[in-house]
Symmetry: C2
Amino acid sequence: MYGLIGRMLAVDGRREELLTTLLEGSAPMPGCRSYVIARDPGSDNGIWISEVWDSREQHKASLHLAHVQATIAKARPMIAGFAERFETEPKGGIGI
Amino acid sequence: MYGLIGRMLAVDGRREELLTTLLEGSAPMPGCRSYVIARDPGSDNGIWISEVWDSREQHKASLHLAHVQATIAKARPMIAGFAERFETEPKGGIGI
């Protein structure tokens, strides 16, 4: 499996709108086992996204899906940048 | 919901053994929606654990479950310490 844990930074005052956009856009994707969108309580504009995929290739391919591209286009003006980004190798657990 | 993202550090040379112990111990827990155990490919001894719970209280209560205490006792000699630790407020997504 392939995993990503990252923190996105919303434009000031637009975190809730960005969260809503990301949640609305989180339709099933081939090879995606888990995709958790969370508010970062330690900042005013952070959003944590934790992903588990069957493979790195399926994550990469997902970026070309029509509904993912539509969500990226809608979200882009609300994104100020990116902070932490960690790749992981999920081995198992609960809910994946 | 309540979330935790953290990186545990294994004693040198014991990461695989610690991963196996954590995976064997990951039985269902009340209020636990997701518990992902992953190798950190960026280090020799890091293990990422990403958790989603219905509430902070259910996470806290889980630490008193018999099978969780047994896993903690078995894992403790293999744990060198803890690195990053982030609390989150999961809002939704896929697989939770």
